[in-house]
Protein backbone atom coordinates (compact mmCIF):
# COMPACT_ATOMS: atom_id res chain seq x y z
CA UNK A 1 0.00 0.00 0.00
CA UNK A 2 1.35 3.42 -0.90
CA UNK A 3 1.49 5.95 1.89
CA UNK A 4 -0.65 8.27 -0.23
CA UNK A 5 -3.26 5.61 -1.05
CA UNK A 6 -6.52 7.07 0.31
CA UNK A 7 -8.64 4.82 2.56
CA UNK A 8 -11.66 5.22 0.33
CA UNK A 9 -11.38 5.73 -3.42
CA UNK A 10 -14.86 6.63 -4.57
CA UNK A 11 -13.90 6.41 -8.24
CA UNK A 12 -13.03 2.71 -7.73
CA UNK A 13 -16.38 2.09 -6.05
CA UNK A 14 -18.26 3.72 -8.92
CA UNK A 15 -16.23 1.89 -11.58
CA UNK A 16 -16.79 -1.45 -9.84
CA UNK A 17 -20.45 -1.19 -8.84
CA UNK A 18 -21.22 -4.20 -11.05
CA UNK A 19 -18.68 -6.43 -9.35
CA UNK A 20 -19.67 -5.22 -5.88
CA UNK A 21 -23.34 -5.93 -6.64
CA UNK A 22 -22.50 -9.38 -7.91
CA UNK A 23 -20.52 -10.24 -4.74
CA UNK A 24 -23.36 -8.90 -2.60
CA UNK A 25 -25.82 -11.07 -4.54
CA UNK A 26 -23.68 -14.19 -4.02
CA UNK A 27 -23.42 -13.36 -0.33
CA UNK A 28 -27.18 -12.98 0.10
CA UNK A 29 -27.86 -16.23 -1.79
CA UNK A 30 -25.47 -18.22 0.38
CA UNK A 31 -26.93 -16.77 3.58
CA UNK A 32 -30.52 -17.45 2.52
CA UNK A 33 -29.77 -20.99 1.29
CA UNK A 34 -27.82 -21.93 4.44
CA UNK A 35 -30.31 -20.52 6.92
CA UNK A 36 -33.30 -22.07 5.12
CA UNK A 37 -31.71 -25.52 4.92
CA UNK A 38 -30.45 -25.15 8.49
CA UNK A 39 -33.95 -24.24 9.68
CA UNK A 40 -35.57 -27.25 8.03
CA UNK A 41 -32.99 -29.66 9.50
CA UNK A 42 -33.15 -27.97 12.92
CA UNK A 43 -36.93 -28.18 12.94
CA UNK A 44 -36.71 -31.91 12.35
CA UNK A 45 -34.04 -32.34 15.03
CA UNK A 46 -36.06 -30.25 17.50
CA UNK A 47 -39.17 -32.39 16.94
CA UNK A 48 -37.04 -35.50 17.42
CA UNK A 49 -35.60 -34.05 20.63
CA UNK A 50 -39.08 -33.34 21.94
CA UNK A 51 -40.57 -36.70 21.11
CA UNK A 52 -37.50 -38.66 22.28
CA UNK A 53 -36.12 -36.57 25.11
CA UNK A 54 -32.90 -38.57 25.48
CA UNK A 55 -31.73 -37.40 22.06
CA UNK A 56 -31.63 -33.74 23.14
CA UNK A 57 -28.37 -34.02 25.13
CA UNK A 58 -26.39 -35.72 22.35
CA UNK A 59 -27.81 -33.35 19.69
CA UNK A 60 -26.71 -30.32 21.71
CA UNK A 61 -23.32 -31.88 22.51
CA UNK A 62 -22.56 -32.58 18.84
CA UNK A 63 -23.81 -29.23 17.55
CA UNK A 64 -21.91 -27.30 20.28
CA UNK A 65 -18.69 -29.09 19.37
CA UNK A 66 -19.21 -28.26 15.70
CA UNK A 67 -19.88 -24.69 16.74
CA UNK A 68 -16.51 -24.39 18.48
CA UNK A 69 -14.56 -25.43 15.36
CA UNK A 70 -13.15 -22.36 13.60
CA UNK A 71 -14.89 -21.90 10.27
CA UNK A 72 -11.73 -21.88 8.17
CA UNK A 73 -10.79 -25.25 9.70
CA UNK A 74 -14.26 -26.71 9.13
CA UNK A 75 -14.33 -25.60 5.49
CA UNK A 76 -10.94 -27.19 4.99
CA UNK A 77 -11.87 -30.40 6.81
CA UNK A 78 -14.85 -30.81 4.48
CA UNK A 79 -12.67 -30.55 1.36
CA UNK A 80 -11.70 -34.25 1.47
CA UNK A 81 -15.42 -35.12 1.45
CA UNK A 82 -17.08 -32.55 -0.79
CA UNK A 83 -14.13 -30.90 -2.57
CA UNK A 84 -13.53 -27.23 -3.26
CA UNK A 85 -17.15 -26.53 -4.07
CA UNK A 86 -20.25 -24.58 -3.19
CA UNK A 87 -21.49 -27.72 -1.41
CA UNK A 88 -18.57 -27.51 1.05
CA UNK A 89 -19.45 -23.92 1.85
CA UNK A 90 -23.15 -24.55 2.30
CA UNK A 91 -22.69 -27.73 4.36
CA UNK A 92 -20.40 -25.94 6.84
CA UNK A 93 -22.67 -22.90 7.05
CA UNK A 94 -25.70 -25.12 7.67
CA UNK A 95 -23.85 -27.03 10.43
CA UNK A 96 -23.15 -23.74 12.21
CA UNK A 97 -26.83 -22.76 12.28
CA UNK A 98 -27.95 -25.97 13.98
CA UNK A 99 -26.96 -25.25 17.59
CA UNK A 100 -28.78 -21.94 17.88
CA UNK A 101 -31.84 -23.02 15.90
CA UNK A 102 -32.40 -26.44 17.53
CA UNK A 103 -31.93 -24.95 20.99
CA UNK A 104 -34.31 -22.08 20.44
CA UNK A 105 -37.00 -24.20 18.74
CA UNK A 106 -36.95 -26.71 21.62
CA UNK A 107 -36.94 -24.00 24.31
CA UNK A 108 -39.71 -22.13 22.45
CA UNK A 109 -41.99 -25.17 22.18
CA UNK A 110 -41.27 -26.20 25.78
CA UNK A 111 -42.19 -22.69 26.84
CA UNK A 112 -45.77 -22.88 25.57
CA UNK A 113 -47.88 -22.64 28.75
CA UNK A 114 -49.56 -26.00 29.57
CA UNK A 115 -52.90 -24.25 30.14
CA UNK A 116 -52.80 -22.99 26.55
CA UNK A 117 -52.24 -26.53 25.30
CA UNK A 118 -55.03 -27.82 27.54
CA UNK A 119 -57.40 -25.11 26.39
CA UNK A 120 -56.71 -26.05 22.77
CA UNK A 121 -57.30 -29.72 23.55
CA UNK A 122 -60.50 -28.78 25.34
CA UNK A 123 -61.66 -26.92 22.24
CA UNK A 124 -61.36 -30.14 20.28
CA UNK A 125 -57.99 -29.69 18.53
CA UNK A 126 -56.23 -32.91 17.61
CA UNK A 127 -52.48 -33.15 18.34
CA UNK A 128 -51.39 -32.18 14.81
CA UNK A 129 -53.81 -29.29 14.45
CA UNK A 130 -52.98 -28.10 17.96
CA UNK A 131 -49.29 -28.06 17.09
CA UNK A 132 -49.70 -26.01 13.89
CA UNK A 133 -52.43 -23.66 15.04
CA UNK A 134 -51.64 -23.13 18.71
CA UNK A 135 -48.22 -24.28 19.91
CA UNK A 136 -46.19 -23.12 16.92
CA UNK A 137 -47.69 -19.61 16.79
CA UNK A 138 -47.14 -19.15 20.53
CA UNK A 139 -43.52 -20.32 20.14
CA UNK A 140 -42.82 -18.09 17.14
CA UNK A 141 -41.14 -15.10 18.85
CA UNK A 142 -38.45 -17.27 20.46
CA UNK A 143 -37.96 -19.29 17.26
CA UNK A 144 -37.51 -16.08 15.25
CA UNK A 145 -35.06 -14.81 17.91
CA UNK A 146 -32.93 -17.86 17.10
CA UNK A 147 -33.28 -17.25 13.36
CA UNK A 148 -32.07 -13.69 13.82
CA UNK A 149 -28.89 -14.76 15.57
CA UNK A 150 -28.26 -17.60 13.13
CA UNK A 151 -28.69 -15.21 10.20
CA UNK A 152 -26.37 -12.51 11.56
CA UNK A 153 -23.76 -15.19 12.34
CA UNK A 154 -24.06 -16.66 8.84
CA UNK A 155 -23.59 -13.25 7.20
CA UNK A 156 -20.18 -13.03 8.88
CA UNK A 157 -19.23 -16.62 8.12
CA UNK A 158 -19.97 -16.46 4.39
CA UNK A 159 -17.08 -14.01 4.11
CA UNK A 160 -14.64 -16.75 5.20
CA UNK A 161 -15.68 -19.00 2.30
CA UNK A 162 -13.51 -16.81 0.09
CA UNK A 163 -10.57 -19.00 1.19
CA UNK A 164 -12.16 -21.98 -0.56
CA UNK A 165 -12.92 -20.01 -3.71
CA UNK A 166 -16.42 -18.76 -2.87
CA UNK A 167 -16.80 -15.81 -0.60
CA UNK A 168 -19.32 -13.19 -1.69
CA UNK A 169 -18.27 -10.00 0.07
CA UNK A 170 -15.33 -11.88 1.60
CA UNK A 171 -13.73 -11.69 -1.84
CA UNK A 172 -13.70 -7.89 -1.57
CA UNK A 173 -12.26 -8.02 1.97
CA UNK A 174 -9.53 -10.62 1.36
CA UNK A 175 -8.71 -11.16 -2.30
CA UNK A 176 -9.02 -7.70 -3.75
CA UNK A 177 -8.58 -5.94 -0.39
CA UNK A 178 -6.09 -7.24 2.17
CA UNK A 179 -3.97 -9.31 -0.24
CA UNK A 180 -3.48 -6.34 -2.56
CA UNK A 181 -3.15 -3.76 0.22
CA UNK A 182 -6.21 -1.98 -1.15
CA UNK A 183 -8.23 -0.46 1.73
CA UNK A 184 -11.19 0.73 -0.37
CA UNK A 185 -12.16 -2.82 -1.26
CA UNK A 186 -11.77 -3.96 2.37
CA UNK A 187 -13.95 -1.21 3.75
CA UNK A 188 -16.64 -1.65 1.09
CA UNK A 189 -16.78 -5.38 1.89
CA UNK A 190 -16.92 -4.92 5.67
CA UNK A 191 -19.47 -2.10 5.49
CA UNK A 192 -21.78 -4.13 3.23
CA UNK A 193 -21.49 -7.14 5.57
CA UNK A 194 -22.56 -5.01 8.53
CA UNK A 195 -25.40 -3.41 6.56
CA UNK A 196 -26.54 -6.83 5.35
CA UNK A 197 -26.51 -8.23 8.90
CA UNK A 198 -28.50 -5.27 10.27
CA UNK A 199 -31.03 -5.32 7.40
CA UNK A 200 -31.54 -9.08 7.70
CA UNK A 201 -32.02 -8.72 11.46
CA UNK A 202 -34.61 -5.95 11.03
CA UNK A 203 -36.44 -7.91 8.31
CA UNK A 204 -36.76 -10.92 10.61
CA UNK A 205 -37.91 -8.71 13.46
CA UNK A 206 -40.55 -7.24 11.13
CA UNK A 207 -41.56 -10.75 10.06
CA UNK A 208 -41.95 -11.80 13.67
CA UNK A 209 -44.19 -8.80 14.42
CA UNK A 210 -46.30 -9.63 11.36
CA UNK A 211 -46.62 -13.28 12.36
CA UNK A 212 -47.43 -12.56 16.00
CA UNK A 213 -49.35 -9.29 16.24
CA UNK A 214 -50.63 -10.27 19.71
CA UNK A 215 -47.06 -10.39 21.09
CA UNK A 216 -46.59 -6.69 20.34
CA UNK A 217 -49.90 -5.90 22.04
CA UNK A 218 -48.58 -7.58 25.21
CA UNK A 219 -45.59 -5.27 25.12
CA UNK A 220 -42.96 -7.85 24.23
Amino acid sequence: MNADEPFIRFDWIIDNLGQIGQRLGEHVLMVVASVLIGFVISFGLALLARSHRWTYGPIIAVTSTLYAIPSLALFVLLIPITGLSLTTGIVALVLYTLLILVRNIVVALDGVPPEVVEAATGMGYGPLQRFWRVELPVATPVIVAGLRIATVTTVGLVAITTFIGLGGLGYLIINSGTRRFFPTSIYVGVALCVVLAVVADLLLLWLQRRLTPWAAAQGR
Binding site: M1, A3, F7, S64, T65, Y67, A68, I69, P70, S71, L72, A73, L74, V76, L77, I79, P80, I81, Y96, I100, R103, N104, V107, A108, D110, G111, V142, A145, G146, R148, I149, V152, T153, V155, G156, L157, A159, I160, F163, I164, G170, I173, I174, G177, T178, R179, F181, P183, I186, Y187, G189, V190, C193, V194, A197, V198, D201
Partner: protein, 247 residues
Protein backbone atom coordinates in the same frame (compact mmCIF):
# COMPACT_ATOMS: atom_id res chain seq x y z
CA UNK B 1 -10.89 -39.15 2.21
CA UNK B 2 -7.21 -39.99 1.80
CA UNK B 3 -6.52 -36.30 2.38
CA UNK B 4 -7.21 -36.92 6.08
CA UNK B 5 -4.49 -39.58 6.04
CA UNK B 6 -2.10 -37.13 4.40
CA UNK B 7 -2.97 -34.47 6.97
CA UNK B 8 -2.30 -36.86 9.83
CA UNK B 9 0.94 -38.02 8.19
CA UNK B 10 2.01 -34.38 7.96
CA UNK B 11 1.29 -33.97 11.68
CA UNK B 12 3.16 -37.17 12.49
CA UNK B 13 6.41 -36.02 10.90
CA UNK B 14 8.59 -34.51 13.67
CA UNK B 15 10.51 -32.39 11.15
CA UNK B 16 7.33 -30.41 10.48
CA UNK B 17 7.14 -29.50 14.17
CA UNK B 18 10.67 -28.33 14.83
CA UNK B 19 11.47 -26.19 11.77
CA UNK B 20 12.60 -22.94 13.43
CA UNK B 21 11.22 -20.70 10.65
CA UNK B 22 7.94 -22.39 9.77
CA UNK B 23 7.46 -25.24 12.24
CA UNK B 24 4.27 -26.27 14.02
CA UNK B 25 5.77 -25.40 17.43
CA UNK B 26 6.52 -21.85 16.24
CA UNK B 27 3.05 -21.37 14.72
CA UNK B 28 1.36 -22.88 17.77
CA UNK B 29 3.29 -20.48 20.02
CA UNK B 30 2.28 -17.55 17.80
CA UNK B 31 -1.33 -18.70 17.92
CA UNK B 32 -1.43 -19.12 21.71
CA UNK B 33 0.55 -15.98 22.62
CA UNK B 34 -1.46 -13.80 20.23
CA UNK B 35 -4.74 -15.19 21.60
CA UNK B 36 -3.64 -14.81 25.23
CA UNK B 37 -2.55 -11.20 24.70
CA UNK B 38 -5.80 -10.30 22.95
CA UNK B 39 -7.96 -12.03 25.56
CA UNK B 40 -6.10 -10.27 28.40
CA UNK B 41 -6.59 -6.91 26.69
CA UNK B 42 -10.27 -7.62 25.95
CA UNK B 43 -10.88 -8.52 29.60
CA UNK B 44 -8.94 -5.48 30.84
CA UNK B 45 -11.06 -3.18 28.67
CA UNK B 46 -14.41 -4.95 28.53
CA UNK B 47 -14.87 -6.14 32.09
CA UNK B 48 -14.70 -2.73 33.86
CA UNK B 49 -17.05 -1.24 31.26
CA UNK B 50 -19.59 -4.05 31.60
CA UNK B 51 -19.41 -4.10 35.39
CA UNK B 52 -19.71 -0.34 35.64
CA UNK B 53 -22.72 0.04 33.34
CA UNK B 54 -24.30 -3.03 34.96
CA UNK B 55 -23.85 -1.53 38.41
CA UNK B 56 -24.97 2.01 37.63
CA UNK B 57 -27.30 1.38 34.69
CA UNK B 58 -25.77 4.50 33.14
CA UNK B 59 -24.89 4.55 29.45
CA UNK B 60 -26.21 1.02 29.09
CA UNK B 61 -28.30 1.55 25.97
CA UNK B 62 -25.45 3.16 24.07
CA UNK B 63 -22.80 0.65 25.09
CA UNK B 64 -25.01 -2.37 24.38
CA UNK B 65 -26.01 -0.93 21.00
CA UNK B 66 -22.35 -0.48 20.09
CA UNK B 67 -21.55 -4.00 21.30
CA UNK B 68 -24.37 -5.39 19.14
CA UNK B 69 -23.14 -3.61 16.03
CA UNK B 70 -19.71 -4.94 16.95
CA UNK B 71 -21.17 -8.42 16.80
CA UNK B 72 -22.45 -7.79 13.27
CA UNK B 73 -18.91 -7.10 12.02
CA UNK B 74 -17.58 -10.35 10.57
CA UNK B 75 -14.47 -11.70 12.30
CA UNK B 76 -12.43 -11.27 9.14
CA UNK B 77 -13.76 -7.72 8.95
CA UNK B 78 -11.94 -6.69 12.15
CA UNK B 79 -8.62 -7.68 10.62
CA UNK B 80 -9.54 -5.85 7.43
CA UNK B 81 -10.56 -2.68 9.28
CA UNK B 82 -7.47 -2.54 11.48
CA UNK B 83 -4.83 -3.54 8.94
CA UNK B 84 -4.73 -0.39 6.73
CA UNK B 85 -4.79 1.79 9.85
CA UNK B 86 -1.80 0.10 11.50
CA UNK B 87 0.10 0.10 8.21
CA UNK B 88 -0.29 3.85 7.96
CA UNK B 89 0.46 4.37 11.66
CA UNK B 90 3.42 2.01 12.07
CA UNK B 91 4.77 1.36 8.56
CA UNK B 92 6.24 -2.16 8.40
CA UNK B 93 5.57 -2.59 12.12
CA UNK B 94 1.90 -2.45 11.13
CA UNK B 95 2.17 -6.00 9.80
CA UNK B 96 1.85 -9.16 11.86
CA UNK B 97 1.34 -9.07 15.61
CA UNK B 98 0.18 -5.45 15.99
CA UNK B 99 -2.89 -5.42 13.70
CA UNK B 100 -3.73 -8.99 14.76
CA UNK B 101 -3.78 -8.27 18.47
CA UNK B 102 -5.80 -5.05 17.99
CA UNK B 103 -8.37 -6.78 15.77
CA UNK B 104 -8.71 -9.79 18.09
CA UNK B 105 -9.11 -7.51 21.10
CA UNK B 106 -11.86 -5.53 19.36
CA UNK B 107 -13.57 -8.80 18.47
CA UNK B 108 -13.28 -10.11 22.02
CA UNK B 109 -14.70 -7.10 23.86
CA UNK B 110 -18.46 -7.23 22.93
CA UNK B 111 -19.30 -10.60 24.51
CA UNK B 112 -17.44 -9.66 27.70
CA UNK B 113 -19.23 -6.30 27.99
CA UNK B 114 -22.71 -7.63 27.21
CA UNK B 115 -22.39 -10.58 29.58
CA UNK B 116 -20.88 -8.58 32.45
CA UNK B 117 -23.71 -6.07 32.01
CA UNK B 118 -26.42 -8.76 31.82
CA UNK B 119 -24.96 -10.63 34.80
CA UNK B 120 -24.81 -7.53 36.98
CA UNK B 121 -28.37 -6.51 36.04
CA UNK B 122 -29.70 -9.91 37.03
CA UNK B 123 -28.40 -9.62 40.58
CA UNK B 124 -31.31 -9.52 43.00
CA UNK B 125 -31.85 -5.92 44.13
CA UNK B 126 -32.57 -7.17 47.66
CA UNK B 127 -29.06 -8.59 47.88
CA UNK B 128 -27.57 -5.23 46.93
CA UNK B 129 -29.79 -3.49 49.48
CA UNK B 130 -28.77 -5.99 52.14
CA UNK B 131 -25.11 -5.25 51.38
CA UNK B 132 -25.69 -1.52 51.70
CA UNK B 133 -27.67 -2.08 54.87
CA UNK B 134 -24.69 -3.89 56.34
CA UNK B 135 -22.68 -0.73 55.82
CA UNK B 136 -20.77 -1.83 52.72
CA UNK B 137 -19.34 0.88 50.56
CA UNK B 138 -20.33 0.98 46.88
CA UNK B 139 -17.09 -0.67 45.73
CA UNK B 140 -17.54 -3.44 48.30
CA UNK B 141 -21.10 -4.05 47.08
CA UNK B 142 -19.72 -4.45 43.58
CA UNK B 143 -16.80 -6.65 44.59
CA UNK B 144 -18.31 -8.78 47.33
CA UNK B 145 -21.97 -9.03 46.32
CA UNK B 146 -22.66 -8.28 42.68
CA UNK B 147 -19.57 -9.77 41.00
CA UNK B 148 -19.71 -13.11 42.87
CA UNK B 149 -23.42 -13.52 42.04
CA UNK B 150 -22.91 -12.43 38.42
CA UNK B 151 -19.79 -14.59 38.04
CA UNK B 152 -21.36 -17.44 36.03
CA UNK B 153 -22.65 -15.05 33.37
CA UNK B 154 -19.42 -13.00 33.39
CA UNK B 155 -17.29 -16.12 32.94
CA UNK B 156 -19.54 -17.36 30.13
CA UNK B 157 -18.84 -14.08 28.32
CA UNK B 158 -15.10 -14.57 28.77
CA UNK B 159 -15.38 -18.14 27.46
CA UNK B 160 -17.25 -16.97 24.36
CA UNK B 161 -14.67 -14.29 23.81
CA UNK B 162 -11.76 -16.72 24.25
CA UNK B 163 -13.16 -19.23 21.76
CA UNK B 164 -13.79 -16.48 19.20
CA UNK B 165 -10.30 -15.09 19.63
CA UNK B 166 -8.61 -18.49 19.27
CA UNK B 167 -10.74 -19.22 16.21
CA UNK B 168 -10.10 -15.88 14.55
CA UNK B 169 -6.36 -15.96 15.32
CA UNK B 170 -6.33 -18.49 12.47
CA UNK B 171 -7.13 -15.65 10.08
CA UNK B 172 -4.33 -13.43 11.40
CA UNK B 173 -2.09 -15.21 8.91
CA UNK B 174 -3.43 -12.99 6.13
CA UNK B 175 -1.93 -9.90 7.77
CA UNK B 176 1.36 -11.64 8.53
CA UNK B 177 0.45 -12.69 12.07
CA UNK B 178 1.63 -16.26 11.50
CA UNK B 179 -0.39 -18.67 13.71
CA UNK B 180 -1.58 -22.13 12.68
CA UNK B 181 -3.72 -20.40 10.06
CA UNK B 182 -0.52 -19.70 8.12
CA UNK B 183 -0.31 -23.37 7.12
CA UNK B 184 -3.93 -23.29 5.95
CA UNK B 185 -3.85 -20.03 4.02
CA UNK B 186 -0.41 -20.48 2.46
CA UNK B 187 -1.14 -24.16 1.91
CA UNK B 188 -4.32 -23.48 -0.07
CA UNK B 189 -2.37 -20.93 -2.09
CA UNK B 190 0.32 -23.42 -3.13
CA UNK B 191 -2.05 -26.42 -3.11
CA UNK B 192 -0.21 -28.26 -0.33
CA UNK B 193 -3.38 -29.84 1.01
CA UNK B 194 -1.67 -32.19 3.50
CA UNK B 195 -0.53 -29.18 5.51
CA UNK B 196 -3.90 -27.50 5.13
CA UNK B 197 -5.82 -30.48 6.51
CA UNK B 198 -3.23 -31.21 9.22
CA UNK B 199 -3.28 -27.64 10.48
CA UNK B 200 -7.09 -27.53 10.34
CA UNK B 201 -7.21 -30.58 12.60
CA UNK B 202 -4.88 -28.83 15.09
CA UNK B 203 -6.89 -25.60 14.99
CA UNK B 204 -10.13 -27.48 15.62
CA UNK B 205 -8.58 -29.31 18.58
CA UNK B 206 -7.18 -26.05 19.99
CA UNK B 207 -10.57 -24.31 19.79
CA UNK B 208 -12.43 -27.23 21.37
CA UNK B 209 -9.81 -27.43 24.16
CA UNK B 210 -10.26 -23.71 24.80
CA UNK B 211 -14.02 -24.18 25.07
CA UNK B 212 -13.59 -27.13 27.44
CA UNK B 213 -10.96 -25.42 29.59
CA UNK B 214 -13.09 -22.33 30.12
CA UNK B 215 -16.22 -24.42 30.78
CA UNK B 216 -14.29 -26.28 33.44
CA UNK B 217 -13.07 -23.01 34.94
CA UNK B 218 -16.66 -21.77 35.02
CA UNK B 219 -17.80 -24.83 36.88
CA UNK B 220 -14.95 -24.67 39.40
CA UNK B 221 -15.24 -20.94 40.00
CA UNK B 222 -18.92 -20.87 40.84
CA UNK B 223 -19.75 -21.45 44.46
CA UNK B 224 -22.28 -24.27 44.93
CA UNK B 225 -24.55 -21.93 46.88
CA UNK B 226 -25.41 -19.92 43.79
CA UNK B 227 -25.13 -22.60 41.16
CA UNK B 228 -28.35 -22.54 39.21
CA UNK B 229 -30.11 -25.33 37.53
CA UNK B 230 -33.43 -25.25 35.86
CA UNK B 231 -34.58 -24.65 32.37
CA UNK B 232 -32.36 -23.34 29.63
CA UNK B 233 -33.11 -19.80 28.57
CA UNK B 234 -33.74 -19.04 24.92
CA UNK B 235 -31.03 -17.21 23.04
CA UNK B 236 -32.16 -13.66 22.33
CA UNK B 237 -30.59 -11.01 20.12
CA UNK B 238 -28.96 -8.45 22.36
CA UNK B 239 -29.07 -10.85 25.26
CA UNK B 240 -26.35 -12.90 26.84
CA UNK B 241 -23.62 -13.67 24.35
CA UNK B 242 -23.54 -16.98 22.61
CA UNK B 243 -20.33 -18.18 21.08
CA UNK B 244 -20.19 -16.84 17.60
CA UNK B 245 -18.21 -18.90 15.20
CA UNK B 246 -15.29 -16.94 14.01
CA UNK B 247 -12.28 -17.49 11.89
Amino acid sequence: MELFGQGIAWLADPANWTDPRNGIFLRLWEHVSLSAAALAAAIAIGLPIGVWIGHTGRGATAVIAIANIGRAVPSIGWLGIVFPLTLVAFGRGGLGFVPSVIALTALGIPPIVTNAYAGMREVDADLVEAGRGMGMREMDVVRQVEIPVALPVILAGIRVSAVQIVATATLAAIVGGGTLGDFIIQGIFVRALDRVVGAAILVAILAILTELAFSLLERRAISPGIRRGGQAAPIEPGGVALPRVAG
